[in-house]
Every structure is written in structure tokens, then in C-alpha cells.
Amino acid sequence: MNRTLPFLLLPAMSFLTGCATPVAVRNLSGQLVTTQRAYAISLRGYFAAVEKFADAQVTISNTRIDELTAQINRQYGTRATASLATATPAQRRQIIDQLVQDVAANANADLPVRQKIAAAAVTLKKKDQELDAAYQAIVAASEKLDEYIRLKKADQAAVDSLVQSVGMNNQQITGIVDAIIALTQNLTQTFVKAQP
């Protein structure tokens, strides 16, 4: 009787306190953190690829804008040359001044266009960084929760200490608790049947 009492009490304590986090919950929590860490790496890789693509597009666009600007300048040049052919000396001065002014204005007009394109790429990178930082915070929060889930709780420590002392493990406790539950159910059914 003295030896069987702890064997019955300990599983009951363990069962009733219910403080130990179920293995399935700990496993899910651990796997969630692992998956989120892997996802964070993929996300960074994805952002890096998209940013490289955006940088390439900026370069291509700037090159194309240079080509268009040169084409526009050629148009101004062609018009000025045609006008110069029949112009008086006074008109020639005016035509050349106009050409210089048009070419300068054409070059200046490119500046806001280039800035707009560069700003768009910067916006993309800024947003990527913001999303990355937010996801890192989400991963950190999951890790913190996981740390708590894996933490040995005070009640669990007490039961573990007693269980360890009598040479039992959690699997045995679960088996014994199951047996007690089955026995209780059988007894309940027996009592119900025995009632008149």
C-alpha cells in the first residue's frame, strides 16, 4: 500500500495540475519559429532580387531618357540649321541663342524625371526594409512565446521532482492516468447498470 500510494497520487497530481505544456503544442510552437525564420530568409532574398531588378530598370530608363533627350536636341538642331540657311545676321544670333536655350531647357527638364524614377526605387527599398523589420519583430515575438512554452513551469518542476524520485517518466504517467480514466468509466457504467 505504501508503495502503490505514490504511484496513484503522482499521476493524479500530474493529471490534475495539467501544467505541463503538451508535446504537440511545444512541437507546433518550435516548428512555427523554424518556419518563420526560414521565411524571413526567403523574404530577404526576394526583396534583394526585386531591388536589383528595380535598379536595373532605373539604369535602363535613364539610358533611354538620355537617348530621347539627344533625339530632341537633334530636332532642335535640325530646325535651327534650316532656319539659319535663310536668316539675316541678326536673325542668326537669335536662332543660335534660341537653340542654346532649348537644349539647356531640354537637359534641365530631365532632372525631375530622373529624380522621380530614383525616388520610386528608394520608396521600394524603404518599404522592403520596413516589411523586413516588421517580420523580424513577428519572428522575435514567436521566439519569445516559444521560449515561454518551452519553459519548465513551477508546478511541473514540483511534479517532475517527485516523479523522478520514484523512477517514473511522463509516458508511464500518461499510461497510468489512462488506466485510471478507463477504470473510472467502467466503474461508472457498472454503477449505472446496477441501479434498479
Binding site: L68, I117, A121, A141, K144, Y148, L151, A154, A158
Partner: protein, 105 residues
């Protein structure tokens, strides 16, 4: 009409006008066509500027709650330490009182 469609039509019109007369209007049309192409390139980046309108992900509350979980973890660790001390003390007291504890307890 999209910018691409507009560009196609302008190019077509420019090609039709060029052989007829190289006058000021044709020149203006050519310039306009090239400017539209520049704008089309710039507008290609507009969807990226829309990213600014996306609401930032708020993680401030997560950080606050994480600090609270840190406190809970610290408290739980102290509780475990306390329980272990009590159990050790109880074992010593029981043994001192002459109680035969099971082997290993």
C-alpha cells in the same frame, strides 16, 4: 486610351506628316512624341510611389507584449527555483523527523 496606344497613334501620325511638309507643326509633333516617350518611361515607376500609401505594419504593441512575456518568464523561473527549494527543504525536514521516504526521494 493608354500611353502605349497614344504613342502608337502619334508615331503613325508623325510618319504620315513627315513626307508632306517639314514645317513647324511637324517639328512640334516630333518633340511632343519624344516627350511623351519620356513620360511613359517615368510613369512606369509610378506604381512604386503608391507603396508610400500602404499603411506601415505596426509592431509596437508586439514589442510591449514581448517585454511582458520576458517578465513572465523571469517570474516563472523564480517560482521554479522557489518550488525546488521548498521540496528540498521538505525532504530534509521529513528525513529529520524520521520519516522513511521512498528510495531516491
Amino acid at each position: 486610351m493608354t500611353i502605349d496606344e497614344l504613342l502608337t497613334q502619334l508615331n503613325s501620325l508623325s510618319s504620315k506628316l513627315e513626307p508632306i511638309a517639314a514645317n513647324e507643326a511637324t517639328f512640334d509633333l516630333q518633340i511632343l512624341l519624344l516627350e511623351v516617350q519620356k513620360q511613359a518611361i517615368t510613369e512606369g515607376f509610378s506604381p512604386l510611389t503608391d507603396l508610400d500609401a500602404l499603411a506601415p505594419v505596426s509592431v509596437g504593441e508586439l514589442r510591449v507584449l514581448m517585454a511582458q512575456v520576458d517578465d513572465a518568464i523571469a517570474t516563472e523561473k523564480k517560482r521554479v527555483q522557489f518550488v525546488q527549494t521548498i521540496i528540498a527543504l521538505a525532504k530534509t525536514a521529513l528525513r529529520a523527523a524520521g520519516v522513511n521516504l521512498p528510495t531516491g526521494l
